[in-house]
């Protein structure tokens, strides 16, 4: 089995458009990742598979680009004060346990129900998580935006810890309390472990653990959005590095594919990280919520296909199946581009305002000195 895969890895002949495509999608994925802490995997893995890369090699190579990208992004965001390293490491280590358990469940489903079964499981996980968490994040972002428009939204008001977070701060379990600088409070690690575990479990299931990691840090631990998305990069780095090693141990990583995605994605991750310095916290929630809800639609479209493959509903017409598959992929890509558009728009607006401010500042100081 391993020999076949090894052979398949060597067999892939990279064409010029493959290279350009990987660099381009890598850039957009990196941009989103630098901004919200994760992103890109849901478009990259299926695209690589459509190039003829075996599924497991696509997942392994994607992961191999993800951890250095997360590392570079985390270093950049740490310079802006957006990273709680201690929280990231604790969440990252517990996420590792979640990844192992999640992968175990995946294997079990694949053994009992086959490929269609595991595809259905992944899609349903997407629909449930994105449907609940995504809508909540989006609703919260719109609420903060409305407050901002009315002129009531101050930073402290917007990033006020939730009731759950307030409750957690009050619970004191001796011997387990850890001080986190992002919230300047002590929280028992017995509460952060399940959050990390869920993040890892989701990462092993749908490849994007950040969809649980970031909202759980914001809403359960009361971490400000900007720090939550920066800290997610530390979690992604730990999960990605261990995951890559695990796949590489069986020889599944195609380093050429991984480094090509990295080529574009490091440009993106730097730019996305810079973008976070120009926005308010709710923008992170908005971008994340928008992506989650669009991808929800994309995965929802595929559910009937898998149900018919399993024979749980009557078989679908093949033209209908390919239409659903193509639409689903297009919607996936759309999610990434809509997010990139929002980030770019804010970045350009922010830079423009900053430049105008600097010009005014210089004019002001020249005026002072001439007086």
């Amino acid at each position: 089995m391993q020999e076949t895969i090894q052979h398949a890895v060597q067999m892939i002949d990279l064409q010029f458009w493959h290279i350009m495509y990987l660099i381009f999608v890598g850039f957009v994925g990196g941009l989103v990742s630098g901004f919200i802490g994760s992103g890109g995997a849901f478009v990259l893995t299926p695209s690589m598979m459509s190039m003829g890369v075996p599924g497991i090699v696509a997942v392994a190579s994607n992961m191999c680009h993800k951890f250095p990208k997360a590392l570079v992004g985390a270093i950049k965001r740490a310079k802006f004060g957006h990273v709680d390293v201690k929280l990231g490491i604790i969440m990252g280590l517990s996420a590792e346990a979640g990844v192992l358990y999640g992968a175990h469940i995946q294997e079990h489903i694949k053994r009992t129900l086959g490929d269609a079964g595991s595809n259905l499981y992944v899609s349903i996980a997407f629909v449930i998580v994105l449907g609940t968490v995504g809508l909540y994040v989006l609703r919260d972002a719109f609420k903060a935006m409305a407050l901002e428009k009315e002129g009531k939204g101050t930073l402290s008001e917007e990033e006020k810890p939730t009731k759950i977070a307030e409750l957690l701060y009050k619970i004191h379990i001796p011997g387990t309390m850890i001080h986190f600088k992002s919230i300047n409070k002590k929280v028992s690690f017995l509460f952060t472990i399940p959050l990390g575990f869920a993040t890892g479990f989701l990462a092993a299931t749908i490849a994007v653990g950040g969809f649980i990691g970031v909202p759980s840090m914001i809403y359960i631990l009361g971490v400000p959005s900007l720090i939550a998305s920066g800290t997610e990069l530390v979690i992604a780095f730990i999960m990605g590095a261990v995951g890559t090693f695990k796949y590489a141990w069986s020889g599944f990583v195609d380093i050429r594919l991984a480094m090509l995605i990295l080529l574009g994605s490091l440009f993106g991750v730097q730019l996305g990280a810079i973008g976070t310095t120009y926005v308010k916290g709710y923008m992170i929630k908005l971008v994340m919520g928008v992506i989650m809800v669009i991808i929800l639609v994309s995965r929802g479209l595929m559910v009937p296909v898998y149900l018919s493959q399993l024979g749980w509903i009557s078989p679908l017409n093949p033209t209908y199946v390919s239409l659903l598959k193509n639409t689903s992929f297009a919607v996936n890509a759309l999610a990434l581009f809509v997010a990139a558009f929002i980030i770019f728009k804010n970045l350009i607006k922010g830079i423009y305002e900053e430049k105008r401010y600097r010009v005014l500042e210089t004019a002001h100081s020249t005026l002072k000195t001439t007086k």
């Binding site: 090894q6 890559t244 090693f245 380093i255 991984a258 490091l266 310095t277």
Partner: protein, 81 residues
């Protein structure tokens, strides 16, 4: 006048861009040999992980300096009025 117009790190950028270029050139010039070793599994797993670290250091610096040279930088923190 403590804050003059900062000089752009063009030289440093070119050095890192050069290193990154050489790394990518080597990767693709010897792609079959590299893929042969990198996919052998077991302790050879250190090879792709180590490569990813080296590339991310060189290319991470290149991209960081690239945006600085282009003039896109993070917003400066200032006191909120």
């Amino acid at each position: 006048m403590a804050e003059k117009v900062k000089k752009k790190p063009v030289g440093k950028f070119l050095v890192f861009a050069g290193i990154t270029f050489i790394l990518y050139y080597l990767l693709f010039a010897y792609e079959s040999l590299i893929n042969d070793y990198f996919t052998r599994g077991k302790f050879y797993a250190f090879l792709p992980v180590l490569t990813a670290f080296i590339f991310s250091y060189a290319h991470g610096n290149t991209t960081d300096l690239f945006w600085k040279v282009v003039g896109i930088e993070a917003k400066k923190r200032r006191e909120v009025k």
